[in-house]
Assembly symmetry: C2
Homo-oligomer: 394 residues x 2
């Protein structure tokens, strides 16, 4: 007899990015497809040093089970940093460590979503957030966005006329996939609408530390008067992703619910990773390290933007990011980025077609370009070749 | 306005064990409550050495994102070991690395369970499996067990008369909480029933390597003719839990579904933990290391059993485990282990009342004793004191 799977398995599909990444494992491919940080900037020597210290001074603790909430000194550091940089007022009990910020999204689905509930999100939005929430049987309503973020009027209307809205999911800073950053005004307005309608906001913020220009803006969470806003963060882009340590921060009672849910999901995060990061933060100046990453990514971003200006037709629009890992290209209506990908892969250039970043109506004339994982010559060469493919296709 | 949470939040509760563990953080408490491995046996020096090698030889790879499936050489090692020890016929593509074997349970819930589906389980069963599956809105039907495992006649009847059975969840070797091990015959019969009724089996096996006496039995998975059986495993009890590396193994098409679900859940396991364990396995003889753990736990188990024989009244029944971390005590009907816990905590002795290990009808005259985390003198002293409390209460 055949096995019966859960209904959700009918709509859980392979991530297009992961499938493309498999193709790009051949070394000669120039890939703008992933969202990988630059590995040459990982602080390997320092990690080696602090790991030794942790194993020497607290070896049995570092290798044993620990609490679901996570290592208290690390949660304190996170709360303190968010308070200083993002305008929040948190302490360690507002913070739960998660297995990467991706787990923060999965747990949010588990805490908030029943089958048939609605998630409001930016259009387009982060691909793997769509997967995370979809597993809980929700519907998505896409809210239009522009260079200043989500359209607040459209959001208000959607909240007015839609039943069972449980979450508003947003990435206000250096958004994935568009690279755009929300204005201060929209941030305030979102907090206001969240409070007015009693709907939780997940403010996903894995890239916020990587600002190339302009001033750091306060988080949406900093305008939260009702305790409805949860904010994720991650060490993946400012330290390294291999440790899988991220966090979600919010109202203490809500975080307690997340803790209970995480207990049944996977008990806790990797213990030694938590202690190692905490030891690194004690001994090294992470701002100096982030400064190095920002310098490198800024140059790569500048190169990408210059290539997009120089090599691509004027009918092609794109983002000039103030930070983060991505820029976003809009081709003229009717042009298919998927078809361009087929051609560009023949020339060993990869990217992610933008259609996958829309939960409902896929805009196929869009594509995402990652610039963090490659030296400038390669960016220049790759975007030059891609521009050729695009022109030929158009 | 108040936020609305998912319906599941109404029945997700704090783990009683985790709450008790908080009490036992005071050093003077003798705790039989956790399921912690003995930290003095963690191979700290070796972990230090192989971590340095990994960081030196493959630092950027070890700290970067990797595939959802997990590091191929480690999956190969797992398949090979299962084939040699548990009678299976697997290769690396039958194996998905998970964030501890606990995540294997969560992903199983996600892959198989819709609201209202039924999970058949041993009575009693692993507490955190109840939490993991419950989050997907299932009902549990408890199947009676005895010293040889689950009652196969009762299982057959339940399968016959129950609609929407999606999973049979079992821990056939050194079960948590009872310490019991299933006979060969029952293992075969379970595989047969699983195939006959087209119901998936989750064979949870985190303790199987820790056998003190008798012969290793083939896994239920080894009798799987239909491809319905999934088997979990873990490095937590044979290496260390802090790395959070476990696995789930099964039919390739089903494992593909788990991979898709894990993508949206948390992308992947900790990369450096995977490489470090693989490096350890290449350079060291893990069987020798497991041998050390088994020697120590056997002595602790013998001490616990001797104390239970010597100090406790004859009306108290208990398991004589052939391996693993736990023994299980059944007090006479009407005696409440929860009430005994209150008294024993006054004398600084902790354990987990057995009621929590039953999803439906809590048998309150039972309790679980962990013996892996304490030297023999403490076991002797703690069980002596506990026996006094029990006698006084009775």
């Amino acid at each position: 007899m055949e096995l019966n799977f859960a209904k959700r398995m009918a709509y859980i599909q392979a991530s297009e990015i992961r499938e493309i990444l498999k193709v790009t494992e051949q070394e000669e491919v120039i890939s703008f497809a992933g969202g990988l940080p630059a590995p040459e900037l990982f602080p390997i020597r320092e990690i080696d040093e602090v790991t030794r210290i942790v194993l020497k001074e607290a070896g049995t603790k570092a290798l044993q089970y620990t609490t679901t909430e996570g290592y208290a000194p690390l949660r304190e550091w996170i709360a303190d940093r968010m308070n200083r940089r993002l305008g929040t007022s948190l302490d360690k009990d507002n913070v739960l460590l998660t297995h990467g910020s991706q787990q923060g999204l999965d747990l949010s689905g588990k805490v908030f979503l029943d089958e048939g509930d609605v998630v409001l999100c930016e259009s387009p939005t982060y691909l793997a957030a769509i997967s995370a929430f979809k597993a809980y049987g929700c519907r998505f309503i896409e809210i239009p966005t522009d260079g200043k973020g989500m359209d607040m009027e459209a959001l208000g209307e959607a909240l007015d006329k839609t039943a069972k809205v449980k979450l508003i999911y947003v990435i206000p800073t250096f958004q994935n996939p568009t690279g755009r950053t929300w204005s201060l005004e929209r941030r305030k307005k979102l907090a206001e609408l969240s409070s007015k309608y009693g709907v939780a906001v997940i403010e996903d913020n894995p890239y916020g530390e990587l600002r190339f220009e302009g001033e750091t803006l306060p988080s949406v969470k900093s305008f939260d008067t009702a305790g409805n806003i949860l904010c994720t963060g991650s060490f993946s882009k400012i330290f390294c992703p291999g440790f899988r340590i991220g966090w979600i921060a919010g109202d203490k009672e809500i975080i307690r619910k997340y803790v209970l849910v995480k207990q049944g999901t996977d008990l806790q995060c990797n213990t030694i990773a938590q202690l190692t990061i905490a030891e690194y933060l004690k001994r090294y100046d992470i701002d100096k390290h982030i400064g190095k990453i920002v310098d490198v990514y800024k140059k790569r971003c500048d190169t990408a933007v210059r290539c997009l200006e120089r090599y691509f037709p004027d009918t092609v629009a794109f983002t000039r990011p103030e930070g983060g890992l991505f820029t976003w290209i809009e081709l003229p209506e009717g042009v298919s980025a998927r078809e361009i990908l087929v051609k560009s892969l023949e020339k060993k250039i990869a990217f992610v077609p933008g259609g996958s970043f829309y939960p409902n109506v896929h805009k196929e004339n869009t594509l995402r370009i990652n610039y963090s994982n490659m030296p400038e010559e390669k960016i220049e060469q790759g975007l030059g070749t891609l521009a050729g493919v695009v022109k030929e296709y158009m």
